[in-house]
């Protein structure tokens, strides 16, 4: 197991290096740069030397290869650089946004797991009944519905309901407060995006739970369990569900990694200042260092999640031995 983990961790390096190369050259392919945007963006007259000086200051007038290796080299000594746009350290810019994105991702995962496991299980146990059909339709609708549109609908619903009850329209607060300082204020802001994304997430997980459980329920050892007189509830909960968890864990893990960086549109709807928004801003500002660091962070979470999934596999199913 330890050997396997070391091997997997080493395998991360080529993937992350590839992602670094990809994002670096992709970013530099975008026409224009940050200095042009800063001084020539507004269209007013400016000193041509100003742009040159700005480029020299940021070091983006040097050969790309030099810039690339300087950036990559920084990672090995824990120096992630400073944002070209705000001039503040990358870590300082990313940390509060990552905290927000992480919280939404965790809450959405909770919502998804709480919905998906019972619904998926009941749908599989009562296959082809009206419950099954309803659950399947709800979950396919969840995958079909754009979560940003669901977000708009949630806002609309909140407005209507608050208008009917309090007589004035209420929408979630825009200012982020830390969950430690003000848990209720924090929850009133973040529960809605968590629900909007959690629904889609739960739809994917429900479908996986259902089909995995259906497959397991046809196994011989389930028949054995039933034959020796184990009550149906125990057969499903103890014998079947745990063995059906492997693909469900995969789906939940991958979706979680996706949520950390892919919430761009939902953040826009709810006006959240998370990683997704930072990403859009840094791409439009030509903030190379910031965009590159963000991509590396998201790619890192993704590969880490994949390793974590494999570890959970071995824990869930003792037959799986990595060597």
């Amino acid at each position: 197991m330890h050997k396997y983990l070391v091997k997997r961790t080493l395998m991360m390096i080529p993937t992350l290096f590839g992602a670094a190369v990809l994002v670096f050259f992709l970013m530099h392919m975008i026409p224009g740069d940050i200095c042009q945007l800063r001084y020539a963006g507004s269209g007013g007259s400016f000193d041509a030397g100003l742009i040159e000086r700005c480029r020299a200051e940021l070091g983006i007038d040097r050969p790309l290869v030099v810039q690339f290796f300087e950036w990559i080299g920084g990672f090995f000594v824990g120096d992630f650089g400073t944002s070209m746009w705000t001039d503040r350290p990358i870590t300082e810019e990313i940390a509060p946004r990552a905290a927000l994105s992480l919280q939404v991702a965790i809450m959405a995962t909770l919502v998804a797991v709480l919905i998906a496991l019972p619904l998926g299980a009941i749908s599989a146990v009562r296959q082809n009944s009206w419950i099954d059909y309803t659950v399947r339709c709800i979950s396919i609708a969840g995958i079909a519905m754009p979560s940003f549109w669901l977000g708009i609908l949630i806002m609309l619903g909140l407005l209507w309901v608050s208008n009917a009850i309090f007589g004035y329209g209420w929408i979630p607060p825009i200012q982020y407060v830390s969950p430690i300082e003000d848990p209720i204020g924090n929850l009133t802001q973040l529960i809605w995006p968590a629900l909007a994304t959690g629904y889609r997430y739960s739809a994917v997980a429900t479908r996986m739970t259902r089909s995995a459980l259906l497959e397991v329920l046809r196994e011989d050892y389930i028949r054995t369990a039933r034959a020796k007189g184990v009550i149906e509830k125990l057969v499903v909960n103890r014998h079947a569900l745990k063995n059906a968890m492997l693909p469900v864990v995969t789906v939940i893990g991958i979706e979680f990694a996706f949520l950390m960086g892919g919430l761009v549109v939902t953040e826009q709807v709810f006006n959240l200042n998370g990683l997704g928004k930072l990403f859009v801003e840094s791409v439009t500002n030509h903030d190379y260092t910031m965009t590159q660091s963000l991509v590396m962070l998201v790619a890192f979470i993704f590969v880490l999640m994949n390793i974590l999934i494999d570890v959970i596999y071995a824990w869930l199913d003792p037959r799986i031995r990595y060597s």
Binding site: P14, T15, L16, G18, A19, L22, V23, L26, M27, M29, I30, P31, I140, A141, I143, A144, M145, P146, F148, W149, I152, L153, M155, L156, L159, G169, M208, S211, A212, E215, P247, T250, F258, G261, G262, V264, V265, Q268, V269, F279, V280, V283, T284, V295, V298, A299, F302, V303
Partner: protein, 293 residues
């Protein structure tokens, strides 16, 4: 002459009967298939079906609610929402079909080739695919659109690229099992070229996962296009597109004119719903084992 007619009739009948049996066995698949056909017809005949010009602005009838003249109301520029939805189905289906077909086909060929060649090529290819998989879809699209600019065809490129590794990975795992079957060795022994073995002998045998991927990609592509257009990185005004219709006025006036925000979202949901349901039924019919797609 009569013999020909007599021979043709049972064939016709059995085809109808087969269709009827398919509908009974996969009722959801039949319904979603009908929905897709309907959508395609609406898209093709948009000019005839749409009650109004989707681009015509009317500053007297701004944000009018659903009525007899404007069945689904008008937007903030007084454009008929129903007509814009009908024309928007063209954009959605064009982007959906093209990016799904191109992305999945490239993935198909690359995945099968990688499995067939094996060795160092397969290893390197897989690492490259890993890199693309680790890149979140929407961020990939964001970068591509910033390089090539927004617009329908660039959106198609942006959406197609992430589909390639997704399909390649699934197809590769099917093709790996295929490579071990003796008929591939037989083909090699008969002196067929690598290209011929990959294209003529292996590709047709991984058609089931491929077709399922294509249908699920169409739905995903429509969703992605809507997200990108909503962010302002996709299809540009005045082209009618569903995601674009949710941008701007839809958000600004969603309290006083909720129809502007509700109907385009319904159209997206219905379209993706139909393709997903169809993909599900296709999977059940073709290969129930491919549940992880």
């Amino acid at each position: 002459m009569t013999a020909v007619v007599a021979a043709a009739e049972p064939a016709e009948k059995s085809r109808l009967r087969r269709l009827g049996r398919m509908c009974r066995r996969q009722p959801l698949g039949a319904i979603s298939g009908a929905l897709i056909v309907l959508m395609a017809l609406v898209a093709v005949f948009a000019d005839v079906v749409a009650p109004q010009d989707p681009l015509k602005m009317n500053f007297i009838d701004q944000l009018v609610g659903p009525s007899a003249t404007y069945l689904l109301g008008t937007d903030e520029l007084g454009r008929d929402i129903l007509s814009r939805l009908i024309h928007g189905s063209r954009t959605a289906l064009l982007i959906g079909f093209v990016s799904a077909a191109v992305g999945a086909t490239l993935g198909l060929v690359l995945g099968v080739t990688s499995a067939y060649l094996g060795g160092i090529f397969d290893l390197v290819f897989q690492r490259v695919m890993d890199v693309f998989m680790a890149f979140p879809l929407i961020i990939m699209a964001l970068a591509i659109v910033s390089v090539f600019g927004a617009g329908t065809w660039n959106v198609i490129i942006a959406i197609t690229i992430p589909f390639v590794p997704k399909c390649a990975r699934v197809v590769r795992s099917s093709a790996l099992a295929l490579r071990e079957i003796p008929y591939i060795d037989a083909a090699r022994a008969a002196g067929f070229s690598h290209a011929r073995i990959v294209l003529r002998h292996m590709v047709p045998n991984v058609m089931a996962p491929y077709l399922i991927m294509v249908t699920s990609f169409i739905g995903q592509a429509i969703l992605l296009e809507a997200s990108l257009s909503y962010l302002g990185l996709g299809v540009q005004e005045p082209t009618p597109a569903w995601g674009l219709m949710l941008r701007g006025g839809a958000e600004q006036f969603f309290e006083s004119a909720p129809w502007v925000a509700i109907f385009p979202g319904l159209a997206i949901t219905l379209a993706v719903f139909a393709f997903n349901l169809f993909g599900d039924s296709l999977r059940d019919a073709l290969d129930p084992k491919l549940r992880s797609l």
